[in-house]
């Protein structure tokens, strides 16, 4: 049992769109990711996803609107809802979601990460 310091963990990697696992509980995982640019449109058929921004501004695009998530804010995207994260400048993100969640959901992409590393 060890505590996790977010800034220390974010200092360990620089790749964008490559979530790292920072914790696991009750079948869910805590993942840390750095984002920059536009991701792919996708949805998760069976998983709700929580996006907590610790640095920067994340624009979460939906088909009918965009929600802007600032530092110290979170958004829960329910299962089945198409979304696309856009980070005009670098964003540091903490995710809570089931361990089974694939980053690109139902959209196969060069950005798809099938195996995530622990950090």
């Amino acid at each position: 049992m060890e505590k996790v310091n977010l800034n220390q963990k974010f200092g360990l990697f620089n790749e964008y769109w490559s979530p790292k696992i920072a914790g696991e509980l009750n079948g869910q995982q805590v993942k840390l990711a750095k984002l920059h640019g536009e991701f792919v449109w996708h949805k998760h058929d069976a998983e709700d996803e929580l996006f907590f921004v610790t640095k920067g501004t994340l624009k979460m695009e939906f088909r009918d609107k965009t929600i802007t998530i600032e530092e110290n804010e979170f958004l829960i995207v329910p299962r089945g809802v198409e979304h696309r994260p856009v980070a005009i400048e670098e964003v540091w993100l903490m995710l809570f979601e089931p361990a089974s969640t694939l980053n690109t959901g139902d959209t196969a992409s060069d950005l798809t990460k099938n195996e995530l590393d622990w950090i």
Copy 2:
């Protein structure tokens, strides 16, 4: 679907040891709590619990050690492990745990909250 701003939510209540529900996903809940003083020793037999400190310093006591959690750090306490949160000064805490989790676990106390409000 609405984003949650932690500081705005923490501004809405002042009670200590009274978690409020700020989000729900995959059978889990995000809870916000303000802590001050010493809580009761307890454990959760079937639930792991994540403690993320957004303000202040939380001392998590275990039977054999104490882990100090600072702002922007989290600790996952596995099910079955006795623990006691201690906040010498006010702490703002975000919890991530199953919706079924009772704040005092297996210890009935005046601090037990059977019904939590959404915030």
